[in-house]
């Protein structure tokens, strides 16, 4: 289990003032002026004082690189906890281009403030891959390249969460021929715990679950060999698929919308990648348990697996064989090879009878002679 680096118990604002030799009186003065600034009544002063004496919420910086923002979208679909509770009560989402009020310099300033004030304590979430082609020019924010921003923010992060297949393995933009050199986070950052939460996108409740784990238990979730939280990625979709009995019974959908499809047979033969895909879809399901791809009649396309885009086509069990066109697979190539071998064998057999005839005749004669000698 990867242990989060111990959070140093951060001094509250009050403790900080005390350490600098200020009195309680000074502290209350600060609170009063803050209250005035925020336009609060006198009663608000006490509340401010209380807040400034309590522990801060976990600061989170959420970066966006080469992505489609569906990971953010999926995150806000979480039903337990709902996302407003997470961002108002559990974490302090100090930077995310999708939701934050400030733009431009003001947005960058908010990020830098968190990087300085909470050095070594904030969680860095990354959505999207980092293009390393063209000196980083394929993804720039505020004039800086994604890689520059990643390195700057990673330096002071307590841990990194790589959201979605983009950040975990490059996703669609890293599919062949990966023209922008889209690169996953773990290949660029070292020396920091990285939690990979793959999926295109990951399930909202899984994303929320990872954050809640960190906030509630103060540790990072236990990861598997591939760096994914065991709680959500230790089973194949196939292991928890409710259509599994049909698989074992050999009852398959042969074509979409056929009788078998209506009956909910197994989708293996129309390309389901559930047997090769580690994810929680069959257990947690999607959008608060409403359904998941297989339940709605389409095979799993393996969206949480590394390089699933190049493991297609999606509607056939076997992958295409590289270099042999769309409809080629290992079996078709194999059959051709077997046919060629058969022809070779036949040719060899004929050749044997032609070129070794004397030898064979000699053996036969030898045998006949021996027989006579008996």
């Amino acid at each position: 289990m990867i242990q989060a680096p111990p959070t140093k118990t951060r001094p509250t604002y009050y403790e900080e003032l005390q350490a600098r030799g200020h009195s309680r009186r000074d502290f209350m003065k600060v609170c009063t002026s803050l209250a005035a600034y925020m336009g609060l009544e006198a009663s608000g002063v006490a509340q401010i004082a209380k807040a400034m004496e309590t522990k801060p919420r976990l600061p989170v910086i959420w970066l966006h690189f080469q992505e489609c923002t569906c990971c953010s979208e999926s995150f806000i679909r979480s039903s337990h906890p709902i996302v407003s509770d997470i961002i108002l009560d559990q974490v302090s989402l100090d930077y995310t281009e999708t939701l934050m009020a400030a733009s431009g310099h003001a947005a960058e300033a908010a990020m830098h403030k968190t990087m300085e004030d909470y050095y070594g304590e904030y969680i860095l979430c990354v959505e999207g891959s980092v293009p390393t082609g063209a000196d980083g020019a394929y993804c720039c924010i505020g004039g800086k390249s994604a890689e520059q921003i990643l390195q700057e923010t990673a330096a002071g992060a307590k841990a990194i969460i790589a959201w979605g297949s983009c950040a975990c393995n490059g996703c669609v933009q890293a599919a062949k021929p990966n023209p922008t050199h889209a690169t996953p986070i773990h290949k660029l950052v070292s020396g920091k715990p990285i939690i990979k939460v793959p999926g295109c996108p990951p399930i909202g409740e899984v994303m929320a679950g990872v954050i809640v784990h960190v906030v509630t238990f103060g540790t990072l979730p236990e990861l598997d060999g591939a760096g994914r939280p065991k709680a959500f990625y230790s089973k194949r979709v196939h292991d928890s698929c409710y259509r599994r009995p049909y698989y074992d019974a050999g009852m398959f959908v042969e074509s979409f919308d056929d009788e078998n499809a209506k009956k909910g047979y197994c989708l293996y033969k129309v390309g389901c990648k559930g047997p090769s895909t580690y994810n929680s879809c069959g257990i947690i399901k999607w959008n608060n348990g409403v359904s998941y791809p297989i339940q709605s009649g389409h095979g799993c396309i393996g969206c949480s697996e590394a390089n699933f885009w190049d493991a297609g086509p999606f509607y056939r069990r076997m992958q295409s064989f590289p270099g042999f066109g769309i409809e080629s697979n290992a079996d078709e190539i194999g059959l051709m090879a077997a046919a060629a071998t058969g022809v070779g064998i036949a040719a060899h057999a004929i050749g044997t009878n032609l070129r070794k005839s004397k030898l064979i005749d000699a053996h036969i004669n030898e045998g006949k002679e021996s027989e006579q000698e008996l």
């Binding site: 923002t69 569906c70 979208e73 934050m100 003001a106 359904s291 389409h298």
Partner: protein, 557 residues
């Protein structure tokens, strides 16, 4: 003296948009909009199975999820001449209506509202007065004084913590914020309610497509079989679920979204004269109860309007070589035939050629190529696409349903029809079409139920699914009206593989750099004359840009 202001990142949008503007005497005098991230999906698609394309292009965007998948299966079905069953058309329509309602509500509250609603000022509101206002504009039940005062306490506590999270460094207190504290508080309350609601409506996608974001599509129909007596198919329970979600969505739109829109707008009527921009509008059209090929039945009628002249609507043809063309004169790409030619998407090329400054950089060199967006043109014209375009074309075509919502809104706000050509008009149009879409969804749903009742349970036509039946070469185009505007995918299939695939996307139309003639596209042109009171806090620029609801992942793909 002109001042160059850079806003990058523009937040509360999808993706990476950079705007550089010149400001003179408190007004924008020139503007450049740049997309600064590229993935090159069009190249990645080459050589792949056309039946898989929907999944690849689906990942163009997770905000307008489904729209690219829809355009993609339509392009392939067009190329292979596949007619899909009526139920599949209806299910696609329903998923599409769902996308609209979701996208527009999320845009209004989570991406746009903070341009108009001052969150910090909401702390000064009187909960009782807030309740009275809320109850006067809508029957929405969550409107008691207690409700608002609890919310206010919660936000106060949040602000007092000193950790402002997503609200940090907002432009709070800026003189451009005009709402009374009570309406700010209503806005904030509904920001949170909409955040909860949006995760519900998408369940329509989950039911038909297995998940959201990125539900599944299928060339030839949809994968969700109908079987009333089957446990794993679309049965009575699943349909009832959809029915309930659509009903709830309609209620939210009519009782929360629209009343809020109408409550906020009167404080910002000056924005009915700012941010109009091009005045050219383009709509491809979509959503017929009789299916995609029934163009006459489109609830979003197609057409083009030039120079704000609503008396004439031009016909649009996506197959004609000279209509839709893309230019790259100011985009970081190269064409084999040179820098200034336009290409119809069937002949389109996507060859990256970055010539901008090496990061980190302070300014883009806007005299040269300065964006990853290509520049689409319709018969050479720069066009605005999106909700405003759709509402105007529907209105100009004399459609009763459009006239009704438009005229009643104009009269409620007491503004002339010309106020539509503006930032405010764009934001209002999004609300108005949401009302229509919520009704249409109901119609499509009833029709689906009717079909099933009549014994038609077909959901996919698999006759042409096997590539063995395909011609050696085929071309197709699939279009739709995405929430942000006209979307088209053009495909060339050769030897069962994708030989070329080109997307021309709403935000590409709106957010592109200028063309070889120096014509500005919609964003750049709408920003002209926008007042900027304080360049350090350019909330006015955000208002106009956000009124388009930019999606840069879409625009560049």
């Amino acid at each position: 003296m002109a001042e160059r202001l850079v806003i990058d990142p523009i937040t509360r949008i999808e993706g990476h948009l950079r705007v550089e503007v010149e400001i003179n005497d408190g007004k924008v005098t020139d503007a450049y909009s740049a997309g600064t991230m590229v993935r090159l999906l069009e190249e990645i698609l080459k050589g792949r199975d056309p039946r898989d394309a929907w999944a690849f292009v689906g990942r163009v965007c997770g905000v307008c999820t489904t729209v690219h998948s829809l355009a993609s299966v339509r392009a392939v079905e067009d190329a292979l001449d596949i007619t899909i069953p009526p139920n599949a058309e209806l299910v696609r329509n329903l998923m599409f209506c769902t996308q609209y309602m979701h996208d527009h509500v999320v845009h209004f509250y989570h991406l746009h509202a903070m341009d108009w609603v001052d969150v910090v000022a909401a702390l000064k509101a009187d909960p009782k007065a807030t309740s009275e206002i809320a109850q006067s504009i809508s029957n929405w039940p969550k409107s008691s004084p207690g409700y608002f005062s609890d919310l206010q306490k919660r936000i106060k506590k949040f602000v007092e913590s000193g950790q402002l999270g997503i609200f940090a460094n907002g432009y709070w207190g800026h003189p451009a914020y005009k709402l009374p504290p009570e309406i700010n508080l209503i806005g904030l309350a509904h920001y949170l309610e909409a955040l909860e609601w949006q995760k519900e409506i998408v369940k329509v996608h989950t039911i038909f497509g297995g998940k959201n974001p990125h539900p599944n599509y299928l060339v030839g129909g949809m994968a969700c079989a109908i079987g009333l007596d089957e446990s794993s198919a679309i049965n009575a329970e699943r349909l009832a679920y959809v029915g309930q979600l659509l009903k709830d969505a309609k209620e939210f739109i009519n009782q929360v979204y629209i009343p809020d829109l109408l409550a906020v707008a009167p404080y910002y009527l000056d924005w009915g004269a700012i941010g109009g921009g091009l005045g050219n509008y383009l709509v491809y059209g979509d959503m017929s109860a009789n299916g995609y090929r029934d163009t006459a039945g489109y609830k979003f009628p197609s057409g083009a309007i030039l120079n704000k002249d609503l008396s004439q609507v031009y016909e649009v043809d996506l197959r004609e070589d000279a209509q839709v063309q893309e230019f790259i004169s100011n985009s970081w790409y190269s064409y084999a035939e040179g820098n200034d030619v336009g290409k119809h998407p069937w002949e389109g090329e996507t060859t990256l050629k970055y010539t901008g400054p090496k990061p980190p950089y302070e300014f883009l060199d806007v005299d040269q190529k300065y964006s990853y967006l290509k520049t689409p043109r319709w018969k050479g014209h720069a066009m605005e696409v999106g909700p405003l375009a759709r509402v105007l074309v529907g209105y100009a075509r004399g459609r009763e349903d459009y006239k009704e919502v438009v005229d009643s809104t104009l009269s409620k706000l007491g503004v002339p029809a010309t106020a539509l050509f503006s930032t405010l008009g764009r934001t209002a149009a999004r609300g108005l079409e949401s009302i229509l879409v919520a009704d249409w969804a109901q119609e499509f749903f009833d029709q689906l139920i009717g079909n099933i009742r009549n014994g038609d349970t077909r959901m996919a036509n698999m006759e042409m699914f096997d590539p063995k039946h395909w011609p050696a070469k085929a071309v197709g185009v699939g279009h739709t009206e995405a929430p942000r505007g006209a979307l088209g995918h053009w495909i060339v299939i050769e030897d069962q593989k994708i030989a070329n695939y080109q997307l021309v996307v709403p935000t590409t139309w709106n957010g592109s750099p200028r063309d070889h003639n120096g014509q500005r596209s919609a964003y750049e042109s709408a920003l002209l004359d926008t007042p900027v009171a304080d360049p350090e806090r350019p909330v006015e620029i955000l208002r106009t840009i956000h009124s388009f609801d930019p999606c840069m992942a879409c625009a560049v793909h």
